[in-house]
Amino acid sequence: MSGAAPVRLKDRAKQLLARQLGVEPGDSGSLWALRLVFRPPREGQRDWVLHWFQGMERRLRSELDVNADASIGTWIKHLFFRPPRRRVRLAANLRSVRHHRGERRGSLLLGRISAWLQPVHGVVSKAGHRVSARLPSIPWSGVGEHIARWSAVLDRLPYLKVVILLMAFAVGAAFWTTPLQLSEQFRLFIVVAAVMLVTRFIPGRWPTMLMVSLSILMTGRYMWWRVTQTLNFASPIEAVFGYLLFMAEIYTWIVLFFGYMQTAWPLNRQPAALPDDPESWPTVDVYIPTYNEPMSVVSPTVLAAKSMDWPRDKLRVYLLDDGSREEFQHFAEQVGVGYIAREEHHFAKAGNINNALKLTSGDFIAIFDCDHIPTRSFLQTTMGEFTVDPKCAIVQTPHHFFSPDPFERNFDTFLRIPNEGSLFYGLIQDGNDFWNATFFCGSCAVICRVPLEEVGGIAVETVTEDAHTSLKIHRRGYRTAYLRIVQAAGLATESLSGHIGQRIRWARGMAQIFRIDTPLFGKGLKFFQRICYSNAMLHFFYGIPRLIFILMPSAFLFFGLHVFNADALAVMAYVLPYLFISGLANSRIQGQYRHSFWAEVYESVLAWYTVLPTTVAFINPKKGKFNVTAKGGLIEQEYLDWGTSKPYVWLLAINLVALVAGVVRIFTVERDEPITVLMNMVWALFNVAMLGAAVGVAKETRQVRVSHHVPLRVPATLILSNGKTMACHTQDYSTGGLAIVLPEAMPLERGEAIGVALSRGELDYYFSAVVARCNGVHLGLKFEEWSHEKETQLIQCTFGRADAWVRWEEQLVPDSPLQSFVEVIEMGIQGVLRLLDACLEGIGSVFLRRPSQRG
């Protein structure tokens, strides 16, 4: 009894206290503490204090990572020692961001900026709309038509062209060399810029020409000023750096002017008709050289080549296997194509083709890389050119890639931003065609046997045998043609290292040709052919100039070297107009094939790696090895390719430190010329963005499928086991499987038998399959009873369709320089963040053994 009494007493005291404080005896300690200080609210009122207190507690819990039932000890421990937890990534996952914002093609950064500036933007655009509604609208396309009509009229006057050109030269020379005061130079810039901005609206080629001419004028003024005014240096060391920069600039001027000439008038050639009588059509040998590529890559190409529309007795397909693989020989016998292997393996692909050249006899030779799947219409589209023009030796068509290249995959720009190749096949080759300088690109082309044999087969002296062969053929007075109609499509290189390897080979080969068989001299070429070929080769020498531009701001920011002897104002008066006007002109010419500033990104990535091969090849063309690009691989784990990105990390570090040095300099040594420091810092910042993008590309995104899958959208019919049908679309194809998007979700069991019919023309081809996966409207099928015959049918219904790739140009988005700039900067920021992520992850896994985040 004596023990029970204090307990009861304690209980009663507690109850009493609870009543006083307004809590239940069973409530938590924190509530007691709260009620000790704050009274409970009156009936019907909201308990703001409790509300706020609970919110605070939740926040603390999440901050300190404490569970709901944790002891006070855990609280105190977590207050001083943070528990290990997963680090949140700094860089955004571009793919999920894209999914988030849906099909909209805007950029991440632009979206964010416009969200900040929403009110301002709203007012401005409203005012703009109001003003433009008052103004009369100008029929720009009508203006363009007028100009085209008048130019056609003027074109008929004799000698007018020569007179105008001579006058233009005289005026140009005067314009370039007339000295102006700074204020007048600024005024000139404003006038020219205004003309450019108005001309941009007028469609047609003559306005483009006007923009190019203005760009040439402004560049010329800059060049004259640069040569006459800026090359006085205070010290020898400044002179060394100054002339280095000057050399790099001379290179860019040459490439700019050559580029203008090359792309002045894209020919836009249309296919020529073949004779009506197929009996008179020539015989064609199709070569498919392969070395080590897997069967799954090669077989679609062979089967598609076999199904091309051409008289059966005049079409022979040969598989040129340099790997001498039995499996391939067996395959060739089964599907009924020729198989050619050779004993020795000299000169890689060129040697392989030359060997086959001796063993076959067709009048024409169509060459496909083993992963370029031709459409059925390839020969009918290309061969007409040869009958129309007997001197035509080569017809080239674009290389089209249906899978994203490393840039597109790692930055998720596939089908959003034109890739590296689209400028070449969309514009440059078409421009070359006008000057009869289209060159052979190794695949997706037809060559006439006679000229090829005249030049001794495919060239073996250089590693870019394709361009060299066509150079030789041009020297003998033959013509070549380019048809910008995609008639074959292939896989892009999978990994960045593979991509770089391929570009290294091109750069090395082009440097070799430039050295041993330079198109500038030698017989047989016209002036503009020399220009076009030289530009194609000079293009690959961008490595050194690009590196100079990347490192040059550091020369001033670190060492205070004045590599450019002019004050900041003069630089702005001459450099800005030159960059701005030529940027606008290039944006107009390249338009949808290359967005502004992306060339800098692509070049920055490759610059470091092309420096050595081009230099070595230029000094000693014999040095160098042929490497075959790997295709059809897979990237199992997301990773940062440190090996590839190492040089850029260093360059990036130099530029970042230079920025810091610039800040120091502006407040200490260089207080008298802060604008110069700022200008160099802006330059360094631009370099940081480019290098950031270069590093960001090295972050390889995961690719999960084992067999290469190919995006492909054609209509299909699904035949269910109960006999019902469903109209649907294919999504992608891989050997032995097909992914399908259904119009509505359907419950299908895994392993359920199902039929799918694809159409070729008006015929249905039926494939029996089983369901491999079914997730809502996404259905994965695995084919049953797979055979070469079935695969041929599938290829015919898909890649072989004549209209398979006709829409590729429609997908391209026109360039808008401002948006493109923001996009590139965004890629740079993302790249730097990715690098930081990779660093932190590396540090974390070494020191803290934290689980690194995947996904």
């Binding site: 019919t717 019902k724 109209a727 259904l742 039929g755």
Partner: protein
């Protein structure tokens, strides 16, 4: 108003189903549609939703000329007018010998009987009359062909159909009728069907429409459930095919009216 006869050189080609579906699809393309059944089987009304054979219809006019038949048309909820064959006797039994003889006599002696009858119908432009008929050759099919501006021949992928095809083409050409052909109930899984399709393409050339209607077990099921197939299974391939066919017919009707107008304008 244009009249389209839907005939088939063999029974079981899916003609009546196709007529019923096309009527709804053409209605959805803003054509006033009258579907007429020139077939003594008297089953068209099943496709409209009636559970027993229609009493009144064309046969009413055959047995007692007058305009009693004009009240026989039914209207379904989507606005299509349906004129069934009807039953000769009130208790829905088959006609007796005398009636049968009278019907046959009219059909034989007046090849343009149906045509004249439909000429009395005043559908607003761009109206379409679809005539479903018994398998060719039959007197009913001939009546329908005579009445038609366009003959749509439904070809089942059967060897018999391919066998009678030549005679049918001859006949149609002799009658000077514009005709197009459509393959129906094609199963891509069947090699025979694919082969017959190739054969048909070879013989018919451009007259064979590129729309082929796929076989689908959903079609008879929809009929059994008293549903419109194209509306109950809009994503099925067969429904897509029928939509394509309906679009083609709609274009043809618009084109034909325009041609007729310009021809009329040219003569006056």
């Amino acid at each position: 108003m244009k009249t389209i006869a839907i005939i088939a050189p063999a029974g079981g080609a899916g003609r009546t189903t196709l007529t019923a579906e096309l009527a709804g699809l053409l209605m959805a393309r803003r054509h006033p549609v009258l579907a007429v059944e020139c077939d003594p089987r008297n089953v068209l009304s099943l496709h409209v939703g009636l559970r027993e054979p229609a009493r009144q219809g064309l046969v009413t006019q055959l047995l007692s000329p007058g305009d009693g038949w004009s009240h026989a048309a039914l209207q379904s909820e989507d606005g299509v007018l349906w004129l069934p064959w009807g039953s000769a006797r009130d208790d829905a039994r088959e006609p007796d010998a005398a009636q049968a003889a009278a019907i046959a006599a009219t059909l034989h002696n007046h090849p343009l009987w149906l045509r004249d009858l439909l000429a009395q119908v005043d559908l607003p432009e761009p109206g379409i009359t679809l005539v479903d008929t018994a398998a060719w050759p039959s007197i009913h099919a001939t009546q329908a062909i005579h009445a038609a501006d366009l003959v749509l021949v439904v070809l089942p992928p059967q060897v018999q159909a391919a066998a009678t095809l030549q005679r049918l083409r001859h006949e149609l050409r002799a009658m000077g009728k514009t005709s197009v052909y459509v393959a129906n109930a094609i199963s891509p899984a069947s090699q025979l069907h694919t082969d017959i399709l190739v054969l048909l393409r070879d013989t018919l050339g451009a007259a064979l429409l590129s729309y082929r209607v796929h076989a689908d077990t959903g079609i008879p099921e929809a009929l059994a459930r008293n549903e419109n197939f194209c509306r109950s299974a809009p994503h099925s391939q067969a429904a897509h095919d029928m939509q394509g066919l309906a679009s083609w017919l709609s274009h043809w009707v618009h084109d034909a009216s325009r041609r007729a107008e310009s021809a009329a304008g040219g003569t006056t």
